[in-house]
Symmetry: C2
Subunit: 386 residues, 2 copies
């Protein structure tokens, strides 16, 4: 047996079976409610089982509440949020098609890179990481470029900036363009308003605002996007992410496409049911109110937010690292002490910001005060005088 | 709020929270052990958390036992087995490259379709579904075609046929070709012998032979495949499945690529630990011995296997539907009565075969006898006289 020289036993492995206790105050993954873990561990059925088809349909219906989408379709990609991004690009940005990207952070760069690999012609309107696009400059860009497809990031995880999509969508539709919106960090935590905004293709993730473990990517498609999809003649370069096939499996014929991650769907359904029980508007308000407290308290100890007040993501706060403080040491201290995870910046924001998510089960007054006390303690220990 | 007309409550939803009790005797997903469900529901940590990195490394080491791979790399794709197939094709079959496919079932057709979408030049050696390729015809095909890449399906889920890879790999290496092997149905249930066979790129799934819920795709890459990957200049068309980036995140720099499905990794580690505790050779033997009993008993009631005895997948039995019996009705009866899932054939085998998996926790004498009794009962109820 070729396996003979590989005999490992449990004892050779160093990671204990019980994960360490973590408070996930980073940009994601976010904290998961015990009810969701319980659903995750229910016995699986087959991916073509009538019960699973029912669960999948329920997930699609419940997603419409979170997206704020009525017509069109919702479906779920069997991959993480990045797979949703690639599905959006691979299905709607055909080779040689002109794509206009609003570029103001890491995820618009990632989308650009994916589109480049699909052979698109790309034009970008660029801003510094943390800034957003005003209505008139967004419209002007689209009118000038007349792209086939427009893409923007609703809530930019790398910077903390929230981009309104109204003017972008209006100008895009006037120009006959389709709009892709990255809603990875917004879905479930703040209004996406898919229909009202006029988005055609939105993708998200199960972690962050939905407070489910990572692994799936929910998508919403407008009637218009569905018509584009049906009209597409050349097949998408990706078979795994082919939305025609996935839509057919998910909602029409239920003909086998791939073996869906059953357990993850159980968890996603439970997370969406919890949102529906809380009421999506109440949930948004809970996050918004925690955000206001967060900013007030942070500014109260002399710290400053990276993004201007009108354009902040309520679930993901970016705080400027005060002079003289090593942000990596603060993060390490929080992780190794109270077990709190937060993130730093990267790219042009490396070393310059903390990224602090207050989402899902952690978005309560008590949890927030616990976090702020530990954060201030860690900052003081690293030389910041409060 | 655009969500206002979507107020669903728990009571509007029709699928009960508790899944029905199913015995998964189909080709997959397979039955999952309670220990694996328990691991699945452990609290998550971040995808860059030192604990998670450790778990990921352990998974990679444990996978080497199952694959029978020493050098090279093992890694895990954040998608199902089909994502692993697409990763293999997207990274190793460059546009315009010649790919030789051994085509004898649905999954070699799927791989062909993926390669077509990647712009490959494809040549196929075709056989009826259920047949396999003899050493000399395999070698002759490769010598004649001199392809850049060769692909075959080790255990063809749609037919029950097991294809030896020795002659294919030997001829391919002589011709300077790289070999991709689909091991979706073989890994964990029977020897893959990655190194001994000479496979360069293998992909699999977490369900079936590993008895973990579906959602991830383990891969093994030979040293040769790693060298190809490093030498590739044009980036893969897929960013999500870019193995250079995934390898870097998984094993080298741990630089962020995507948010890994943490919970699924916990489950996969537990499933692999259980395999390591049982001993992989013991596990293979357990499956092989159940297969022998299965065939004996099935033939004992006058039924016949679809695949010739030398080329059967021990974990997935394909049984010819006896004349006069409607296979769909038998399956429905089994699902709605004792809750047993088995599958039928599709494509050219639609209506002609039953596909019956005896894998993981169900591969014991007791479970097998339970299955056979119910299967015979259902056949009798549908008019077959035993």
């Amino acid at each position: 047996m070729s396996a003979a020289h590989h005999h490992l036993s449990v004892h050779d492995l160093s990671a204990p079976p019980e994960p360490p206790n973590r408070y996930l105050f980073g940009p994601g993954p976010s904290m998961v409610h015990p009810r969701v873990y319980q659903a995750l561990s229910k016995p699986i059925v087959g991916h073509l089982d009538p019960y699973f088809i029912q669960v999948m349909h329920e997930v699609q219906e419940l997603l419409k509440i979170a997206f704020g989408s009525g017509g069109g379709s919702t479906l779920v990609i069997s991959g993480t949020g990045s797979a949703g991004m690639e599905a959006a690009v691979a299905n709607f940005v055909e080779p040689a098609a002109k794509l206009a990207v609003f570029a103001n952070g890491y995820f618009s760069d990632r989308l650009t890179e994916m589109a480049r690999r699909q052979g698109a012609e790309i034009v970008r309107l660029e801003k510094a990481w943390g800034q957003t696009f005003a209505d008139d400059e967004a419209s002007e860009f689209i009118r000038r470029e007349k792209p086939k497809v427009v893409a923007y990031v609703h809530a930019e995880t790398s910077t903390g900036a929230l981009q309104s999509g109204r003017a972008i969508c209006a100008a895009a539709h006037e120009a006959g363009s389709l709009v892709i919106a990255d809603c990875v960090t917004s879905l479930g935590g703040l209004p996406v308003e898919f229909d009202q905004t006029g988005i055609d293709v939105a993708y998200s993730c199960t972690q962050k605002g939905l407070s489910c473990p990572p692994g799936l990517s929910p998508m919403a498609l407008s009637e218009r996007a569905m018509a584009w999809l049906r009209a597409r003649t050349a097949p998408a370069r990706s078979w795994y992410l082919d939305l025609k096939l996935i839509h057919d499996y998910s909602t029409v014929s239920h003909r086998y496409h791939h073996t869906a991650p059953i357990s993850m769907f159980y968890a996603l359904r439970e997370a969406l049911l919890m949102i529906s029980e809380e009421g999506i508007e109440n949930r948004w308000e809970r996050h918004r109110s925690c955000h206001q407290v967060f900013v007030r308290e942070i500014e109260g100890v002399g710290l400053r937010m990276h993004v201007s007040s009108a354009h902040r993501i309520p679930t993901l706060n970016t705080v400027l690292v005060p002079g003289g403080v090593d942000e990596g040491r603060v993060r390490k201290r929080l992780l190794e002490g109270p077990g709190i995870e937060i993130a730093g910046g990267f790219g042009p924001l490396a070393g310059k910001i903390f990224r602090i998510g207050v989402m899902g089960p952690l978005a309560t007054e008590d949890n927030l005060q616990f976090f702020l006390a530990e954060f201030n303690k860690a900052l003081r220990a690293e030389g910041y005088s409060i």
